[in-house]
Every structure is written in structure tokens, then in C-alpha cells.
Amino acid sequence: MVGIVLVSHSREVAQGTADLVHGMAGEVEVAAVGGGSDGSLGTDPEGIRAAIEGLEANEVLVFMDLGSAVLSAETVLDMLEPERREVIRLVDAPFVEGAFAAGVTASTGASAGECVEAAEEARTVSKLH
């Protein structure tokens, strides 16, 4: 099954989003990485790497909130072994909505590609019809 890593500048945003996805997508593995290594607002590449390595899922989608979260995730990807890197995708999607869409899609046993598609669609789906 597809696993999800959520990278936010804020521990609470990452954890809260993980709780939301957990609540709606049941058994999908979700790891939250929020804040810098010292607990401040920021991103922690070591934490991102540990979260990715800690998942049992054979494919991993990584969602990032802003700026340095993206840079950190990309840097971690560079640091991983090539065969591990191949099964990890950074997803260009809204953080909460994208992770939610991907999680629910993953819970149906869908492929990583289908989950990414669902997450990317979240960018254009209108909330107020």
C-alpha cells in the first residue's frame, strides 16, 4: 500500500493533517514531520529522512507545505539510495486537501500514480460551487 509523509513548518499542522487523513483513510500509513529539529517553526531534513525510512509502505508520497519544506524534501531525496528514491514521490498539491485526497484514494488500494492524480486534482476542485 501507498504511505504518506506530511512535511510542514509546524508540528501541529503536520500532526493535525495526519490525524485528519488517519480519520478518513483508516489503515493508510501516515507520518507527520513538523517544525525544525529544535522544535521551532521550520523543517528538519533528518526528521523527513527518518519518517520516510520508518514507513513500511512500498511506495511513499511526500506532501510539503511551503518553501523550505520543499527544499528539505528534495535534499533528502538526493541523499537516499537510488533504489529507495525511485519509490518516493514529492507531490505538488495543496497540503491538507491533497494529502486527504491521496489518503482516501490509497485506502482503496490504488496505485501511487492514482493517489498523486487525486492529490493534484485537489488543486482545482472548487469548494463553493
Binding site: 529544535d38 521550520g42 523543517t43 528538519d44 531534513p45 533528518e46 523550505s68 527544499l71 528539505s72 535534499t75
Partner: protein
């Protein structure tokens, strides 16, 4: 002094510069960023020194790799991945004995890593605005007859200083400052400023160490 010892001296001087200019960098960052650049860089280079003591690297490239890992994990923000990538790429371009041409090639590799990682080009009010002219000046200096590694870094540092000063009138289009739009004008980019300080520290360390034109032992 071996090339490894010279490289360690460079990193120590860089760490001292980050400590000395911590408040200045943070005040630049307070104007257009989140007021932590000086603190973050100081913490990162302190961690780099600790890591170097633990790992006792035996080649210049290994020194830069250890620094890269420390910066990536300890600086935080965008500067960690960006400087970490710069040092990592520089390390891959560095042979055991560092010639002026190899030093210039390492700066060029650092620049291309930063541009790729940050998806940035010159003129966007980022560290690229200091690093790109520095790499160009380093390459020119390395081609001069009688070039030294210290001279290459001195030329790079001077070009970086001018490049960093030239970020003042620019409008930021990358990073947090880009949300400020026109209000980012009139302030020096903190990343460009720290790039200048680091290259200046490297030049100072190398100028203090006795070395032949090839910078070897």
C-alpha cells in the same frame, strides 16, 4: 600544511565569521525574512565543527561532505538545504590536492547545485546573486599566471561582496521575501550577505596559511 588542513582552516574561519556576524545577518533577515539567518548559520557551522572533530576527515572533499551533512541537518529553513547542497557539490569537484583551477571548479559546482536546488537564477535577490559573480571571478583568477587558491577565493569574495550589495535595490521573487514584493526593495539579501562572508573567511584563512602556487603541502 596539507590540503586537508587548509580546508579545515577555511571551515574554522567560516564558523568564526558566522559567529561574529550572527546579529548582522539576523538583522538583515528581520527586514525581509524571518529573522533567524544569523542564528541558524551560526548553529550550523558550530555543528559542522563538532562533526569534523568526530569524523576526522582525511581529504578536502571529506571535510566539505561532513560540513554539508551538518548544515543540512542543523541550519533549518531554506539555507540548510541550499548551503548543504553547495558544500556537497563542491566536495564532488574537489581532488586531494587543491589547485586554483580545482578551487574555481568547486565554486562553479556549488553554484550549479544552489541554482538547481533553489530553482533560482541571478537577479532574484538570493544567494545566487553573490555566488554566481564569485564563481565567474574565481574562474578568471585561476587562469591568471601565478594564481593561488587564496587568490582565487579573494577574487571570489570581492565579487560576492559586490553581488551582495547589488541585491539591495532588487525585488525578491524567491522565498519568503517574494511575498513582500516591492517592500523587499531597499534591503540586502541575507543569503547573499552570508555567501560573501563565507567566501571572505575562506580567502582570509587561505591567505594566512603558507602555501605554494598549487596549494598543496
Amino acid at each position: 600544511m596539507s590540503a586537508t588542513e587548509s580546508t579545515l582552516a577555511v571551515i574554522k574561519e567560516m564558523a568564526a565569521a558566522m559567529e561574529e556576524h550572527r546579529e548582522h545577518l539576523t538583522s538583515l533577515d528581520a527586514a525581509i525574512g524571518d529573522a533567524d539567518h544569523g542564528t541558524n548559520m551560526n548553529r550550523g557551522f558550530k555543528a559542522a565543527l563538532e562533526r569534523l572533530e568526530e569524523t576526522e576527515p582525511a581529504a578536502p572533499a571529506e571535510v566539505l561532505k561532513a560540513v554539508s551533512t551538518a548544515l543540512i541537518s542543523k541550519v533549518g529553513g531554506s539555507a540548510g538545504p541550499l548551503y548543504g547542497t553547495a558544500f556537497l557539490r563542491a566536495s564532488t569537484a574537489l581532488p586531494e590536492e587543491v589547485s586554483p583551477a580545482a578551487a574555481a571548479a568547486a565554486l562553479e559546482a556549488a553554484l550549479s547545485g544552489v541554482k538547481q536546488r533553489g530553482k533560482a537564477e541571478a537577479g532574484e535577490k538570493t544567494m545566487v546573486d553573490a555566488l554566481e559573480p564569485a564563481a565567474t571571478a574565481a574562474k578568471e583568477a585561476a587562469e591568471e599566471p601565478g594564481a593561488t587558491v587564496g587568490g582565487v577565493f579573494r577574487a571570489a569574495a570581492e565579487a560576492a561582496r559586490e553581488g551582495a550589495e547589488a541585491t539591495v535595490p532588487l525585488v525578491a521573487t524567491k522565498g519568503r521575501a517574494s511575498y513582500l514584493g516591492e517592500r523587499s526593495r531597499g534591503h540586502q539579501d541575507p543569503g547573499a550577505a552570508s555567501t560573501h562572508l563565507l567566501l571572505d573567511a575562506a580567502a582570509r584563512a587561505l591567505e594566512q596559511t603558507p602555501q605554494g602556487p598549487k596549494g598543496g603541502p
